[in-house]
């Protein structure tokens, strides 16, 4: 376990903060960590910042996330990981497409692992189109950060306060019908992911989906996070859409 002192805290959007800390370790975009708040809990969080300084971006939804929101610079947290497979430009085995043109679909804090992925792949020369969604304008995460990568960024809000009035999946459907993508990556609420898997199948584009499940060990031995025999913490959190379609539990 790595013990990190909180270095900086950034208010990202309503109810969501980024916690930055130093941790000298290689991590891949889409990987997550287990964050220990002593006396409170330990919860899984995607890495939203991957350079020398690492970061997590956390929405307050309950006790552990509230404790994260109360952290001050200098406070110590325990970090285990990085865990999981992360997004892959190469795709899963048997998938030999190139990854020049990518569609990234994110909802809520699901945008947290997408942002560093888009940053990295854009820098490597991919042409990325992002579509991100949230309840309302003040809850949209990382829209500026994504734009700064040079990607085109489409926005959807449930209340129409910014961009498309409706679900981000509707934006995705439009984009898929207009353009040809080599690959889709997605992270967000499970209903969004389910629709994206269907869209990807319809438009015959490979899709990688990052899932969330209740986690205990984080490294693949306890089985708490199983979905159809696969461990979200170890075999995932990023799964190929075709695998997910084949699972009864999804």
């Amino acid at each position: 376990m790595h013990i990190a002192a909180v270095k900086k805290i950034i208010d990202e959007c309503e109810n969501t903060k980024t916690i930055l800390f130093d941790w000298n370790i290689e991590a891949k975009p889409g990987q997550f960590v287990m964050v220990w708040l002593p006396d409170v809990d330990e919860v899984p969080m995607s890495l939203s910042h991957l350079s020398g300084t690492k970061g997590i971006t956390v929405e307050k939804v309950g006790e552990a996330t509230a404790a994260i929101h109360k952290l001050k610079p200098g406070d110590k947290i325990g970090i285990r990981g990085p865990f999981g497979n992360g997004f892959s430009k190469a795709g899963s085995s048997g998938d030999s497409r190139s990854s020049n043109k990518i569609l990234a679909i994110g909802g809520g804090t699901g945008i947290a692992p997408l942002a560093p992925t888009v940053e990295k792949w854009a820098a490597e020369g991919c042409e990325i189109t992002c579509a991100i969604g949230g309840n309302t304008k003040s809850k949209l995460l990382f829209s500026e950060r994504l734009k700064n990568t040079g990607s085109s960024v489409h926005v959807a809000t449930d209340d129409g306060s910014d961009g498309h009035n409706g679900f981000v999946t509707e934006v995705a459907e439009k984009l898929l019908s207009e353009q040809k993508f080599d690959r889709i990556i997605t992270c967000g609420p499970e209903p969004m992911t389910v629709i994206m898997v269907q869209l990807a199948s319809r438009f015959e584009v490979p899709i990688q989906c990052s899932l969330e499940r209740y986690m205990k060990c984080g490294f693949g031995i306890c089985g708490s996070c199983s979905i159809g025999g696969f461990r979200v913490c170890k075999d995932g959190p990023v799964f190929d859409g075709r695998l997910l379609s084949s699972l009864a539990e999804f």
Binding site: D41, G78, K216, G223, S224
Partner: protein, 304 residues
């Protein structure tokens, strides 16, 4: 090619590697995967109790140097919800052992009866989990109590009954004799060692439950010792578990007297196909040393 087939209390296994209880054994689908992708010869389910149980809060598992520590706290869906999982696991066509925990002989008997009804090939009594109050180690060190539990379970079921015991007892041979005398069909040794981790930078225990169980390579020499001691003392088969990640580790346990071995933490160290890998290494060892049959190795270091 030499054969690593083995047999314990009438249960035939194509290979002697068994999934240990508590590792990926909470759902039927996971167990299926351990068989298909992993190559296990047999699997033990997560320990199941009468009622559903959440287990301990997080953090509940972490990696230490050369070992893992966990305090899952026996999370499980309760016996009644577990029949479906067993049924899925049985689709593999391989033997499935139902692990159960309880505080009383009656509850152990009830659980064993249901496991038998679900189609489990055997039950494994968890007499050794070191981090769940009122269960496991707390009921499993006193020979009198263990005898009572076995008597109740044996009068209830026809399938073989294995007892999984801890190394943290002063007289493991006495305990083994009690188990044999009470009709036990086999002994599984060892469970995790009671242990804990404190984080100096924080000044607190890391596990939410404070205490946990140590597993992985660090405990192997203790496990091998227990198997050696037990198998010198009793005639019923012994299943070795603790720190096995390679074929050489497994061979140590066979030579100590184990008829089969279980792998838990090894899934972390070498992946889900650790069973395939370990079995291939066992066969390679047998080939290199001219053994045809696993039974030639069993108990060898005892001069058997």
């Amino acid at each position: 090619m030499p054969s690593s087939r083995t047999e314990i209390a009438g249960i035939e296994m194509q290979n002697p590697t068994i999934l240990a209880s508590g590792i990926l054994g909470q759902t039927g689908e996971s167990i299926l995967r351990v068989f298909k992708e992993g190559g296990a010869g047999c699997a033990v389910t997560k320990s199941i109790g009468i009622e559903p149980r959440d287990g301990h809060g997080n953090p509940c598992a972490l990696e230490l140097d050369n070992s893992l520590i966990n305090a899952m706290g026996l999370p499980n869906p309760g016996i009644d919800a577990f029949g479906d999982e067993i049924k899925i696991a049985l689709k593999s066509g391989k033997p499935v052992i139902g692990s159960i925990f309880a505080s009383t002989p009656e509850d152990f008997a009830t659980l064993a009866g249901k496991m038998e009804d679900f189609g489990a090939h055997a039950v494994e009594l968890n007499l050794s989990c070191p981090h769940a109050e009122k269960y496991g180690l707390e009921v499993g060190t006193d020979p009198g109590r263990v005898g009572d539990i076995l008597a109740a379970v044996k009068s209830k079921v026809k399938i073989p009954v294995f007892s999984k015991i801890s190394a943290m007892v002063p007289d493991i041979r006495g305990l083994a004799k009690t188990i044999e005398a009470s009709g036990g069909d086999g002994i599984v040794a060892i469970n995790t060692l009671k242990a804990m981790k404190i984080e100096p930078e924080i000044g607190k225990p890391v596990l939410r439950n404070v205490y946990g169980g140590l597993s992985g390579p660090a405990i192997k020499p203790v496990g091998v010792m227990c198997v050696f001691e037990i198998s010198r003392e009793v005639k019923i088969p012994v299943i070795g578990v603790g720190g096995i990640t390679t074929g050489a580790d497994a061979i140590e346990y066979f030579m100590a007297g184990a008829s089969a071995i279980q792998i838990g933490s090894g899934v972390h160290y070498r992946g889900i196909d650790v069973f395939k890998k370990v079995n291939a290494e066992i066969i390679k060892f047998m080939e290199a040393h001219g053994y045809d049959d696993l039974s030639q190795l069993i108990g060898m270091a005892r001069g058997v």
